[in-house]
Amino acid sequence: MVSAHSPEHSTTTAKIVVAGGFGAGKTTLVSAISEIPPINTEAWMTTAGTLDDPLEPDSDKSTTTVAMDFGRRTLADDLVLYLFGTPGQQRFWPMWDDLCRGASGALVLVDTRHLDRSFAAVNYFENDSTVPFVVGVNMFHGEQTHRLDAVRQALSLHESVPLCAFDARDRAQVAGALVGVVEHSMARTARPAPPRPMAPALR
Protein backbone atom coordinates (compact mmCIF):
# COMPACT_ATOMS: atom_id res chain seq x y z
CA MET A 1 0.00 0.00 0.00
CA VAL A 2 0.99 3.60 -0.44
CA SER A 3 2.98 4.94 2.44
CA ALA A 4 0.89 7.24 4.54
CA HIS A 5 2.83 7.41 7.75
CA SER A 6 3.45 11.11 7.63
CA PRO A 7 0.27 13.10 7.22
CA GLU A 8 2.19 16.12 6.03
CA HIS A 9 3.92 14.18 3.33
CA SER A 10 1.53 14.20 0.43
CA THR A 11 1.77 11.41 -2.06
CA THR A 12 0.86 12.25 -5.62
CA THR A 13 -1.04 9.79 -7.75
CA ALA A 14 -1.09 9.86 -11.54
CA LYS A 15 -3.07 7.76 -13.96
CA ILE A 16 -2.60 6.37 -17.44
CA VAL A 17 -5.49 4.64 -19.17
CA VAL A 18 -4.87 1.50 -21.22
CA ALA A 19 -7.54 0.94 -23.84
CA GLY A 20 -7.98 -1.39 -26.76
CA GLY A 21 -10.18 -4.07 -28.15
CA PHE A 22 -10.96 -7.29 -26.38
CA GLY A 23 -7.94 -9.56 -26.22
CA ALA A 24 -5.52 -6.81 -27.28
CA GLY A 25 -3.39 -7.39 -24.18
CA LYS A 26 -4.50 -4.74 -21.71
CA THR A 27 -4.40 -7.03 -18.72
CA THR A 28 -1.05 -8.42 -19.83
CA LEU A 29 0.37 -4.92 -20.08
CA VAL A 30 -0.90 -3.90 -16.65
CA SER A 31 0.51 -7.12 -15.15
CA ALA A 32 3.89 -6.51 -16.74
CA ILE A 33 4.43 -3.15 -15.08
CA SER A 34 2.34 -3.32 -11.92
CA GLU A 35 3.96 -4.01 -8.56
CA ILE A 36 0.76 -5.65 -7.36
CA PRO A 37 -1.25 -8.32 -9.14
CA PRO A 38 -3.81 -6.44 -11.22
CA ILE A 39 -7.01 -5.92 -9.27
CA ASN A 40 -10.32 -6.44 -10.93
CA THR A 41 -13.32 -4.39 -9.90
CA GLU A 42 -15.77 -7.03 -10.91
CA ALA A 43 -18.15 -5.62 -8.36
CA TRP A 44 -18.91 -2.94 -10.88
CA MET A 45 -20.68 -5.35 -13.15
CA THR A 46 -22.61 -8.35 -12.05
CA THR A 47 -22.98 -10.16 -15.36
CA ALA A 48 -20.15 -12.15 -16.81
CA GLY A 49 -19.23 -11.39 -20.38
CA THR A 50 -18.45 -14.82 -21.73
CA LEU A 51 -21.16 -14.78 -24.38
CA ASP A 52 -20.18 -11.37 -25.69
CA ASP A 53 -16.49 -11.99 -25.54
CA PRO A 54 -15.63 -14.88 -27.77
CA LEU A 55 -12.02 -15.84 -27.41
CA GLU A 56 -10.18 -17.16 -30.40
CA PRO A 57 -9.41 -20.87 -30.17
CA ASP A 58 -5.81 -20.01 -31.01
CA SER A 59 -5.60 -17.33 -28.32
CA ASP A 60 -3.44 -17.84 -25.24
CA LYS A 61 -5.90 -15.83 -23.21
CA SER A 62 -7.63 -17.94 -20.60
CA THR A 63 -9.28 -15.30 -18.43
CA THR A 64 -11.72 -12.62 -19.34
CA THR A 65 -11.80 -9.07 -18.11
CA VAL A 66 -15.30 -8.58 -16.84
CA ALA A 67 -15.03 -4.93 -15.96
CA MET A 68 -11.58 -3.43 -15.66
CA ASP A 69 -8.20 -4.29 -14.31
CA PHE A 70 -5.88 -1.85 -12.75
CA GLY A 71 -2.39 -1.92 -11.40
CA ARG A 72 -0.03 0.31 -9.54
CA ARG A 73 3.61 1.26 -9.82
CA THR A 74 5.47 3.35 -7.29
CA LEU A 75 7.78 5.65 -9.23
CA ALA A 76 9.18 7.62 -6.29
CA ASP A 77 8.64 7.88 -2.54
CA ASP A 78 5.83 10.31 -3.12
CA LEU A 79 4.67 9.39 -6.62
CA VAL A 80 2.45 6.47 -7.58
CA LEU A 81 1.31 5.70 -11.10
CA TYR A 82 -1.98 3.88 -11.59
CA LEU A 83 -2.73 2.03 -14.80
CA PHE A 84 -6.36 1.41 -15.59
CA GLY A 85 -7.46 -0.94 -18.32
CA THR A 86 -10.71 0.12 -19.90
CA PRO A 87 -13.41 -2.50 -20.09
CA GLY A 88 -13.28 -3.70 -23.66
CA GLN A 89 -16.89 -4.55 -24.20
CA GLN A 90 -19.15 -2.00 -25.74
CA ARG A 91 -21.69 -2.05 -22.94
CA PHE A 92 -19.10 -0.76 -20.49
CA TRP A 93 -18.41 2.44 -22.41
CA PRO A 94 -20.02 4.79 -19.88
CA MET A 95 -17.17 3.82 -17.58
CA TRP A 96 -14.61 5.17 -19.99
CA ASP A 97 -15.41 8.81 -19.25
CA ASP A 98 -15.07 8.08 -15.56
CA LEU A 99 -11.76 6.28 -16.02
CA CYS A 100 -10.37 8.98 -18.28
CA ARG A 101 -11.16 11.85 -15.91
CA GLY A 102 -7.88 13.09 -14.56
CA ALA A 103 -5.75 10.78 -16.73
CA SER A 104 -2.35 12.04 -17.86
CA GLY A 105 -2.46 10.04 -21.07
CA ALA A 106 -3.77 6.95 -22.76
CA LEU A 107 -2.34 3.99 -24.60
CA VAL A 108 -4.59 2.22 -27.10
CA LEU A 109 -3.42 -1.33 -27.67
CA VAL A 110 -4.09 -3.05 -30.97
CA ASP A 111 -3.71 -6.63 -32.06
CA THR A 112 -2.91 -6.69 -35.76
CA ARG A 113 -4.81 -9.98 -36.10
CA HIS A 114 -7.97 -8.19 -34.95
CA LEU A 115 -7.50 -4.53 -35.80
CA ASP A 116 -11.24 -4.01 -36.02
CA ARG A 117 -11.63 -4.72 -32.31
CA SER A 118 -9.66 -1.60 -31.48
CA PHE A 119 -11.46 0.75 -33.88
CA ALA A 120 -13.90 1.80 -31.17
CA ALA A 121 -11.14 2.66 -28.71
CA VAL A 122 -9.23 4.70 -31.29
CA ASN A 123 -12.47 6.43 -32.22
CA TYR A 124 -13.22 7.24 -28.60
CA PHE A 125 -9.89 8.96 -28.00
CA GLU A 126 -10.00 10.73 -31.36
CA ASN A 127 -13.48 12.15 -30.90
CA ASP A 128 -14.85 11.80 -27.40
CA SER A 129 -11.91 12.46 -25.11
CA THR A 130 -9.42 15.23 -24.48
CA VAL A 131 -6.83 12.80 -23.10
CA PRO A 132 -3.84 12.60 -25.48
CA PHE A 133 -3.26 9.07 -26.71
CA VAL A 134 -0.68 6.87 -28.35
CA VAL A 135 -1.45 3.70 -30.28
CA GLY A 136 0.66 0.66 -29.49
CA VAL A 137 0.83 -2.51 -31.56
CA ASN A 138 1.10 -5.45 -29.20
CA MET A 139 3.67 -7.79 -30.70
CA PHE A 140 2.19 -11.13 -29.75
CA HIS A 141 4.88 -13.76 -29.38
CA GLY A 142 7.38 -10.91 -29.71
CA GLU A 143 6.82 -10.61 -33.43
CA GLN A 144 5.93 -7.56 -35.42
CA THR A 145 3.83 -8.91 -38.25
CA HIS A 146 2.89 -5.67 -39.99
CA ARG A 147 4.75 -2.49 -40.85
CA LEU A 148 3.67 0.42 -38.70
CA ASP A 149 2.75 2.60 -41.68
CA ALA A 150 0.42 -0.15 -42.87
CA VAL A 151 -1.18 -0.31 -39.43
CA ARG A 152 -1.53 3.46 -39.40
CA GLN A 153 -3.26 3.35 -42.76
CA ALA A 154 -5.58 0.53 -41.73
CA LEU A 155 -6.59 2.43 -38.60
CA SER A 156 -6.90 5.73 -40.53
CA LEU A 157 -4.76 7.14 -37.78
CA HIS A 158 -3.87 10.80 -37.99
CA GLU A 159 -0.17 11.48 -38.34
CA SER A 160 -0.22 13.49 -35.12
CA VAL A 161 -0.96 10.31 -33.13
CA PRO A 162 2.23 8.41 -32.30
CA LEU A 163 2.30 4.72 -33.19
CA CYS A 164 4.69 2.25 -31.63
CA ALA A 165 5.16 -1.51 -31.35
CA PHE A 166 6.20 -3.47 -28.30
CA ASP A 167 5.68 -6.72 -26.43
CA ALA A 168 3.07 -6.16 -23.71
CA ARG A 169 4.59 -8.99 -21.65
CA ASP A 170 7.92 -7.21 -21.32
CA ARG A 171 8.20 -4.75 -18.47
CA ALA A 172 10.97 -2.66 -20.00
CA GLN A 173 9.18 -2.41 -23.33
CA VAL A 174 5.93 -1.47 -21.63
CA ALA A 175 7.73 1.18 -19.59
CA GLY A 176 9.25 2.50 -22.82
CA ALA A 177 5.83 2.70 -24.46
CA LEU A 178 4.45 4.54 -21.42
CA VAL A 179 7.35 7.00 -21.61
CA GLY A 180 6.12 7.65 -25.15
CA VAL A 181 2.60 8.25 -23.84
CA VAL A 182 3.82 10.77 -21.27
CA GLU A 183 6.07 12.54 -23.78
CA HIS A 184 3.16 12.81 -26.19
CA SER A 185 1.01 14.33 -23.46
CA MET A 186 3.81 16.79 -22.73
CA ALA A 187 4.02 17.76 -26.40
CA ARG A 188 0.27 18.04 -26.79
CA THR A 189 -0.24 20.15 -23.71
CA ALA A 190 2.96 22.18 -23.87
CA ARG A 191 2.48 25.77 -22.87
CA PRO A 192 4.39 28.24 -20.73
CA ALA A 193 4.53 26.79 -17.25
CA PRO A 194 1.89 28.49 -15.09
CA PRO A 195 3.23 29.99 -11.88
CA ARG A 196 0.88 27.80 -9.92
CA PRO A 197 2.33 26.89 -6.54
CA MET A 198 2.02 23.37 -5.31
CA ALA A 199 -0.99 22.73 -3.16
CA PRO A 200 0.04 23.19 0.45
CA ALA A 201 0.02 20.04 2.52
CA LEU A 202 -2.89 19.85 4.90
CA ARG A 203 -2.01 19.89 8.54
Binding site: M1, V2, S3, A4, P7, S10, T11, T12, T13, A14, K15, I33, I39, N40, T41, A43, W44, F70, R72, R73, L75, A76, L79, V80, L81, Y82, F84, D98, L99, R101, G102, A103, S104, R171, A172, Q173, A175, G176, L178, V179, V182, E183, S185, M186, R188, T189, A190, A193, P194, R196, M198, A199, L202
Partner: protein, 116 residues
Protein backbone atom coordinates in the same frame (compact mmCIF):
# COMPACT_ATOMS: atom_id res chain seq x y z
CA UNK B 1 -7.61 -10.86 2.63
CA UNK B 2 -11.16 -10.87 3.93
CA UNK B 3 -13.53 -9.27 1.50
CA UNK B 4 -16.90 -8.93 3.16
CA UNK B 5 -19.28 -8.84 0.24
CA UNK B 6 -22.54 -7.06 0.59
CA UNK B 7 -25.45 -9.42 0.67
CA UNK B 8 -26.68 -9.75 -2.90
CA UNK B 9 -30.18 -8.79 -1.85
CA UNK B 10 -29.04 -5.49 -0.37
CA UNK B 11 -29.30 -2.88 -3.09
CA UNK B 12 -26.50 -0.30 -3.29
CA UNK B 13 -28.86 2.63 -2.65
CA UNK B 14 -29.70 1.20 0.76
CA UNK B 15 -26.09 1.64 1.79
CA UNK B 16 -25.90 5.19 0.51
CA UNK B 17 -29.35 6.40 1.47
CA UNK B 18 -30.15 6.79 -2.21
CA UNK B 19 -27.26 9.15 -2.85
CA UNK B 20 -25.08 8.81 -5.90
CA UNK B 21 -23.10 12.06 -5.85
CA UNK B 22 -20.28 13.03 -3.53
CA UNK B 23 -19.01 16.28 -2.11
CA UNK B 24 -15.40 15.41 -2.74
CA UNK B 25 -13.71 14.95 -6.06
CA UNK B 26 -13.12 11.22 -5.95
CA UNK B 27 -11.39 10.00 -9.06
CA UNK B 28 -10.59 6.31 -9.33
CA UNK B 29 -6.94 7.05 -8.52
CA UNK B 30 -7.59 9.61 -5.77
CA UNK B 31 -5.62 8.68 -2.67
CA UNK B 32 -7.45 8.14 0.63
CA UNK B 33 -5.69 7.84 3.97
CA UNK B 34 -6.66 7.71 7.64
CA UNK B 35 -4.95 10.54 9.55
CA UNK B 36 -5.68 9.02 12.94
CA UNK B 37 -7.08 5.54 13.33
CA UNK B 38 -9.55 5.09 16.16
CA UNK B 39 -10.42 1.43 16.83
CA UNK B 40 -13.37 2.39 19.03
CA UNK B 41 -14.79 4.48 16.26
CA UNK B 42 -14.26 1.69 13.76
CA UNK B 43 -16.16 -0.73 15.98
CA UNK B 44 -19.15 1.63 16.04
CA UNK B 45 -19.29 2.07 12.27
CA UNK B 46 -21.63 0.34 9.87
CA UNK B 47 -19.88 -2.69 8.34
CA UNK B 48 -19.29 -1.11 4.93
CA UNK B 49 -17.92 2.12 6.38
CA UNK B 50 -15.76 0.17 8.79
CA UNK B 51 -14.33 -1.97 5.99
CA UNK B 52 -13.39 1.11 3.99
CA UNK B 53 -12.05 2.94 7.06
CA UNK B 54 -9.80 0.03 7.95
CA UNK B 55 -8.72 -0.54 4.36
CA UNK B 56 -7.74 3.11 4.02
CA UNK B 57 -5.37 2.89 7.00
CA UNK B 58 -2.67 1.70 4.66
CA UNK B 59 -3.43 4.48 2.22
CA UNK B 60 -4.89 3.50 -1.09
CA UNK B 61 -6.82 4.75 -4.07
CA UNK B 62 -10.59 4.87 -4.37
CA UNK B 63 -10.46 2.07 -6.94
CA UNK B 64 -8.38 -0.10 -4.61
CA UNK B 65 -10.80 0.56 -1.76
CA UNK B 66 -13.65 -0.54 -4.01
CA UNK B 67 -11.90 -3.65 -5.28
CA UNK B 68 -10.50 -4.74 -1.92
CA UNK B 69 -13.72 -4.18 0.00
CA UNK B 70 -15.97 -5.78 -2.59
CA UNK B 71 -18.14 -2.65 -2.69
CA UNK B 72 -19.04 -1.10 -6.00
CA UNK B 73 -17.22 2.05 -7.01
CA UNK B 74 -20.32 4.21 -6.63
CA UNK B 75 -21.07 3.01 -3.12
CA UNK B 76 -17.41 3.34 -2.17
CA UNK B 77 -17.36 6.95 -3.33
CA UNK B 78 -20.42 7.96 -1.32
CA UNK B 79 -19.24 6.28 1.89
CA UNK B 80 -15.69 7.63 1.55
CA UNK B 81 -17.12 11.08 1.03
CA UNK B 82 -19.15 10.73 4.23
CA UNK B 83 -16.07 9.57 6.12
CA UNK B 84 -14.12 12.52 4.75
CA UNK B 85 -16.85 14.97 5.74
CA UNK B 86 -16.63 13.57 9.27
CA UNK B 87 -12.81 13.89 9.02
CA UNK B 88 -12.35 10.17 9.55
CA UNK B 89 -10.42 9.81 6.31
CA UNK B 90 -8.43 12.28 4.30
CA UNK B 91 -9.06 12.62 0.59
CA UNK B 92 -5.83 13.81 -0.96
CA UNK B 93 -6.30 16.66 -3.36
CA UNK B 94 -4.24 16.45 -6.50
CA UNK B 95 -0.81 17.83 -5.73
CA UNK B 96 -0.58 19.37 -9.15
CA UNK B 97 -3.26 21.52 -10.66
CA UNK B 98 -3.73 19.35 -13.71
CA UNK B 99 -2.92 15.82 -14.91
CA UNK B 100 -0.93 17.59 -17.63
CA UNK B 101 1.15 19.70 -15.27
CA UNK B 102 4.61 19.68 -16.77
CA UNK B 103 6.37 18.89 -13.50
CA UNK B 104 4.07 15.95 -12.88
CA UNK B 105 4.55 14.57 -16.40
CA UNK B 106 8.32 14.98 -16.13
CA UNK B 107 8.37 13.06 -12.88
CA UNK B 108 6.23 10.25 -14.27
CA UNK B 109 8.35 10.11 -17.41
CA UNK B 110 11.59 9.96 -15.43
CA UNK B 111 10.19 7.25 -13.17
CA UNK B 112 9.15 5.15 -16.13
CA UNK B 113 12.47 5.67 -17.88
CA UNK B 114 14.17 4.07 -14.92
CA UNK B 115 12.13 0.93 -15.63
CA UNK B 116 12.62 0.93 -19.39
Amino acid sequence: MATPRTHPKVRPYVLTGGRTVTRHRLLVHTLVTVPYYDPGLAAAMLPEARTLYEQARDGCSVAELSALSGLSLGVTRVIVSDLAAAQRVRVHAETYGSPFDRRLLERVRDGLRALA
